[in-house]
């Protein structure tokens, strides 16, 4: 049997397949490489991204779960906490040594207790409630704060785009 990282990923895959949380589908891109996953996230209700289906990509390090995976939106997303290139900026994806924006406390960082499911749920709640204190996308941050209706319009456009409309 291969390393413990693979074992844990298999375990998480099994668990996610058996009872996946609402609005989330996740699994490895191919059965040959369990360290690259693809996840579909549905925009939660009552927010600008409602109804959208966003494709994301998770890349796991070989020492998972000791180090966090990297997460990236493949679909285009305009959001204060998503970098323009799609990388997701949430605290549980950072190790205590690495704090790109310098505001997070150690308690909200990555630890092996976290799981893929928790990451995805955090991203869903991030979509619903952006954190404009730590902007990864400054334009989105500014628009979210100053011109909410325009932000909603842009988000709705992207939702339609994500659905292929």
């Amino acid at each position: 049997m291969a390393g413990s990282a693979l074992k844990r990923l298999l375990a998480e895959y099994k668990q996610l397949t058996l009872n996946s949380p609402e609005g989330i589908v996740a699994g490895p891109k191919s059965e040959e490489n369990f360290f690259e996953w693809e996840a579909l996230i549905t925009g939660p209700e009552d927010c600008a991204f409602e109804g959208g289906v966003f494709v994301t990509e998770l890349i796991f390090p070989t020492d998972y779960p000791l180090s966090p995976p990297k997460m990236k939106f493949v679909s285009e997303v305009f959001h204060p906490n998503v970098y323009p290139d799609g990388r997701v900026c949430i605290s549980i994806l950072h190790t205590p040594g690495d704090d790109p924006l310098g505001y997070e406390t150690a308690a909200e960082r990555w630890s092996p207790v976290q799981s893929i499911e928790k990451i995805l749920l955090s991203v869903v709640s991030m979509l619903a409630e952006p954190n404009d204190e730590s902007g990864a996308n400054i334009d989105a941050c500014k628009m979210w704060r100053d011109d909410r209706s325009q932000f909603n319009a842009v988000a709705q456009k992207l939702v339609r785009k994500s659905l292929g409309l």
């Binding site: 375990a11 369990f34 630890s111 092996p112």
Partner: protein, 663 residues
């Protein structure tokens, strides 16, 4: 694929046409050959044909041994190729007189071979990620590894022969390249062996990572030695080999990282073994029986942290190599165990030796008792004068003056060489038992002292390497690491440890300081740091990966700093990001940090104007980089100018540190 086939067919047809035409004109082999080689046009066609042939061969070999490449592999290949191209150009600047057809061919061939080395390395690393490894994978991997090793060896032999017969030429460079590739191949092969062993067994192989690190350390060390000797050799006979500067830096960094990893993992294991008890059966049954780290059932070999959370020993060990806190509740286990230790020591001081005896009585019961026993270190020689429970003849017990050879059976004389006990009365036996017990206790105490010495040596090593990692932030980080040692100040002051402490004056909790030492540490490591920093400037500009950034600094530690220093720190970070990190800045800011922690911080004098000036100078130099000789001259130049700032920073540092010492 299609266009390549067309191109191949077209060039082959063209070559056939040209050769056929020449032969039809000349009708003889040698005249045809002379004709073909003298005409520029035919020669051009032949070169194109050779290039296409090489491409076809490479593709065939690639398909044979690697199949289709994954996207990540292609990406890495392209990235590494760019570095290779850059280094080749730097190399060409030195060997432009050798710039001939043969040279180009050799470089192209080298590139192809190198690309295969990169690919197989990538593939072997991929083994760890895939649950499905077919037998063809093993066949392919082993055969390509041996093929590459054979090519490397052949070329090394050739260039060695050339070095001996023709003297120093460009062949040295190729000889080095192939030797390095041989080492990389060896590394890959050893990784492959380890992965294969791991794949065979059902359970994850815990020690694999440790073995992998040892392999990395061994091969890294060999690479580093090779690069260094090559560099010295080249500097001696030809010029400064700038083309390998980047790789030397990366190799050194990688080597340092593996050494760090091994040290931290040793420390983690030691902590696990000594500080935390094994979880009992009841605890395992009572707890949720899934280890939160690996998501598997906990049946055996589990540890319980002071916060009552239970994990697999192996999982916890690998986690502690990264962070010293509980994965579930993030309780800082190190500080907790330190306070636990302090409490115990206080208790011992109050109750005296009986407490010690009970702790050691538990030692005989094994299990939890044993780890508890080791958890409480013996009382300090200075704080509690040890009671004299020893028989006469056994030397007075002072932990640090007693060398290990005192460990011989201490009651040898009294017992007459272990004679029979039959003739003794019950009372006599009981008193003998008491003696025996005291002796055993004394031995345990001595062993513990030795262990503490070793531990502190390990801590020193860790600190030392932390200094190497965080250079500028050295004082800051080490102060926190040595906080544990700080509790044992009197212990540190003992003469046996002095030589160790001389190595790392910056790390001291203050009883000794730089003014006591012949040379302060920053000055000692300055010659090492200087070339690296210079290289980092021009070559690695914009390479975030290889420059020291704020990310490496633990934010908690940085928060401990005083507010006022943050501005200065930011400025320094900016300098780092631009790859224009200067020593003067580092020293002044780290000194002021140290001063700040000591409570008497004078503001560092790394004035922005001076920094800017230096920066400007560096930039100018970097822009005037057309030829290697100029670069070399500029390097020497800036080295001397930087050493001036060094001196300035050094005096500055010591002046800010001196009040701290007086405290």
């Amino acid at each position: 694929m299609k266009p390549m086939v067309l191109v191949t067919l077209a060039t082959s047809a063209l070559t056939a046409l040209v050769v056929g035409n020449a032969y039809s004109q000349k009708r003889q082999f040698y005249t045809t050959l002379v004709y073909l080689l003298n005409s520029n046009r035919t020669l051009g066609v032949l070169y194109v044909q050779a290039a296409v042939m090489l491409w076809v061969t490479t593709t065939v070999v690639k398909n044979l041994f690697f199949g289709t490449l994954r996207a990540a592999e292609v990406e890495h290949l392209v990235e590494k190729s760019w570095y290779m191209v850059l280094e080749t150009f730097i190399l060409l600047a030195g060997f432009h007189e050798d710039m001939q057809v043969g040279f180009v061919t050799t470089i192209t061939f080298l590139f192809v071979i190198k690309a295969f080395h990169w690919l197989i390395e990538e593939r072997i690393n991929y083994m760890e990620r895939s649950p499905l490894i077919a037998w063809t994978f093993h066949l392919r991997a082993v055969s390509i590894l041996f093929l590459l090793a054979a090519i490397d060896l052949l070329y090394i032999r050739y260039s060695w022969a050339s070095l001996r017969t023709k003297g120093a030429s460009v062949q040295i460079v190729f000889g080095l390249e192939y030797t390095i590739m041989l080492l990389v191949g060896l590394n890959t092969f050893l990784h492959y062996v380890l992965h294969s062993i791991d794949l065979r067994s059902e359970d994850p192989w815990e020690n694999k990572t440790i073995y992998m690190r040892y392999v990395d350390i061994g091969v890294g060390f060999m690479k580093l030695c090779l690069y260094m000797s090559y560099m010295l050799f080249m500097m001696w006979i030809l010029f400064i080999p700038l083309h390998i500067a980047r790789r030397i830096f990366i190799t050194a960094k990688h080597f340092q990282k593996s050494v760090n990893d091994v040290l931290s993992s040793h420390q983690a294991i030691r902590n696990l073994n000594t500080l935390y008890p094994d979880a009992t059966e009841e605890e395992l049954r009572a707890a949720n029986t899934v280890c939160i780290i690996c998501r598997e059932d906990m049946l055996q070999r589990c540890k319980r942290l002071p916060c009552k959370h239970i994990f697999h020993t192996s999982c916890l060990r690998s986690w502690f190599q990264r962070q010293q806190n509980c994965p579930t509740c993030r309780m800082d286990v190190l500080s907790h165990s330190a306070s636990l230790r302090r409490n115990r020591r206080l208790q011992q001081q109050q109750h005296g030796p009986p407490q010690d005896n009970t702790a050691q009585g538990g030692a005989n019961n094994g299990g939890e008792g044993r780890s508890e026993g080791t958890m409480s270190p013996p009382a300090h020689p200075h704080t509690t004068p040890p009671p004299p429970p020893f028989p006469p003849g056994f030397p007075a017990f002072t932990p640090f003056s007693m060398p290990p050879f005192m460990m011989q059976p201490p009651f040898g004389g009294g017992m007459g060489g272990g004679g029979s006990l039959a003739g003794l009365t019950d009372d006599q036996l009981r008193s003998l038992e008491g003696l025996e017990r005291a002796n055993v206790e004394a031995r345990i105490a001595v062993l513990r002292n030795i262990q503490r010495l070793l531990d502190s040596a390990v801590t020193q090593m860790v600190q030392y390497s932390t200094v190497m990692t965080n250079m500028g932030n050295a004082v800051l980080v080490c102060h926190s690491v040595s906080s544990e040692l700080q509790q044992d100040q009197d212990f540190l002051g003992t003469p046996i440890l002095l030589p160790l402490l001389f190595l790392t004056p910056d790390l001291l909790p203050l009883p000794l300081h730089s003014s006591h030492l012949p040379l302060p540490l920053p000055l000692l490591i300055q010659p090492l740091r200087q070339p690296l920093r210079l290289l980092r400037g021009p070559l690695l500009k914009g390479q975030r990966e290889y420059s020291f950034t704020a990310g490496q600094l633990d934010p908690q530690k940085s928060r401990e700093r005083e507010e006022g220093e943050e501005e200065e720190e930011e400025e320094r970070e900016e300098g780092e990001r631009r790859g224009l990190f200067t020593v003067g800045e580092t020293n002044s800011s780290s000194a002021s940090i140290a001063g700040g922690e000591g409570g008497s911080g004078g503001p560092g004098e790394g004035s922005p104007a001076a920094v800017d000036e230096l920066r400007q100078r560096r930039l100018q130099r970097f822009h005037s980089l057309p030829a290697v000789s100029q670069v070399a001259a500029a390097t020497e130049d800036s080295m001397s100018s930087a050493s001036k700032t060094d001196g300035h920073g050094g005096t500055n540092g010591s002046s800010t540190q001196s009040p701290e010492k007086e405290q």
